[in-house]
Symmetry: C2
Subunit: 324 residues, 2 copies
Amino acid sequence: MSNMREIAKRAGVGIATVSRYINNTGYVSEEVRAKIQKEIDKSGYVPNALARAIFTNSSKTIGLMIPNITNPFFNQLATVIEDRLNEYGYTIFLCHTEDNKDREKEYLEVLKSHRVDGIIASRAQLKEEYLNTKIPVVSFESEIDQSILTISSDNYKGGKLAFSHLYQRGCRNILHIKGPKIFEATELRYKGFLDKAGEKNIGIDIVEFETDFNTKKLEENLKRIKNIDKYDGIFVFNDIAAATVMKYLKKKDIHIPRDIQIIGYDNSFICELLYPELTTIDQNINEIGDLTVKLVLELIDGKEIEIKNHIIDISLIQRETTRD
Amino acid sequence: MSNMREIAKRAGVGIATVSRYINNTGYVSEEVRAKIQKEIDKSGYVPNALARAIFTNSSKTIGLMIPNITNPFFNQLATVIEDRLNEYGYTIFLCHTEDNKDREKEYLEVLKSHRVDGIIASRAQLKEEYLNTKIPVVSFESEIDQSILTISSDNYKGGKLAFSHLYQRGCRNILHIKGPKIFEATELRYKGFLDKAGEKNIGIDIVEFETDFNTKKLEENLKRIKNIDKYDGIFVFNDIAAATVMKYLKKKDIHIPRDIQIIGYDNSFICELLYPELTTIDQNINEIGDLTVKLVLELIDGKEIEIKNHIIDISLIQRETTRD
DNA sequence: ATGAAAGCGCTAACAC
DNA sequence: GTGTTAGCGCTTTCAT
């Protein structure tokens, strides 16, 4: 592909004029415009964004750190974020962390080297590394540091809502299947659930799963649950895991919601594909994505943002796995 | 962030020496190495990949055009591709086309301007635009042009297998729910299914859905099916749509697989979460991803690849929605 | 073994 | 209105 100098030469004008024309900065006569455009068309020239980025200190790229794009919650979030950023002319570097600290670290170096204008990190595990960079960072689902913008949905409230919902529907022998300890979000759901149960003096059995989305591991983890038929209500930390539990119950011929009521988390597309349809907590992914994008862009614009902690409200979506 | 010249100055050496040290090109004495590294550590310097790319004509980035990362098939594919490319030091620009030609066009310009080393396009709709670029392109699921590398899974065979499977299990009143006409892949599944049915002189009813993954639209499209209970076998163009159909049947109290047998396509994670578990066609995503990455990298290396058309074998996974 | 200097493609200050 | 030129951060040739 040719460069600007060549276009300028062929059009018989100076290179600065071509630059002005392309970026619409400063006057260029109609006649010259036509000549330049003709040469651009002939050669299929596309301005080099890298060279421009070096000069302007702005690459128009954003790094998106995300655990796993295979998880419906995160791929929906990624979709919203990509869509919004695209409107503002930003392109995304996709970085799967796989919840692996080393991988996250490597990717952070890559993002730095590519001089991204901002970073959106979700479920980040690094700390010093983010603090030691001047690139604007917005974090979702884990608080990196008090000084770094954090967005999260109200997981604590989600846990409380889940308990109240089951309690109101008569459940008294309740199991909570919680997520891996390292996930801040699921820990808060757990805590909210327990706290609310404490208020009602209801004891809760707890089983911890080791993965959020690896279906094979989820199936294995199911074996940790002893005498599942003694429960009348189960709150599962996400929808996929809840679906696994539902299948397990059906195989044992336990009827949902008559014998056991179930509530998941995330409101992902599978809720409506399951039978019965899964009652769940909706995280309002659109709002999370919108706010996240809005905040990175403001940071990039150099705005000071006073409030570091942003919590997005959640809501319970009742479907068929809990009774009316 | 500081630059190379500054590191050089502070370490009291020439800029070329720093470059040599960082890139491991040419000798640098132990003593000087230590001094340079110390300054790098102190300043948190990370080499500017953009400047390097301008010079070396290699950005170590790849553009990934993908319809929708929300669809399990495509997000799994994206995951494999990202993982493999990462091993080779490439980072991905994520480009959702949303099956929208204009959007694809805009993103192609962006990728060109960022001087990506290669493009992986899936379900591409553009043609001239890809032909008019010198960037290596590998296409998945749609043949852009005879001259451009194409990878696809054996959709025609998939359709044939699906028919044979249902036929062998006694189905004679068969419905095929096909995908949107614009998708090459689902058209081939449709064709394979029909051809095989023709061999057995079985007529097939056809209903076309307008979307591959939008769950709401899928539900609407279900209304197009009249008297569903007259069928004893249904082949659906993908797993998500198949799950929608299953739910619909259950609501009508039609038993699967006793009354109607069902077969999906993609072998996505939901197959095993459904009850009964969904019989489906597996596309071997790992192999597709591996080959795609292998081929782009070879093209980037300047290798001539004779065979333009690569077809990946598929296989049928029997689960519980078809009888033994 | 190391450094000076040219040049990659671009932008913007400054002439004219 | 348009062109010349310096310089963004880097690599690499060519001296030394």
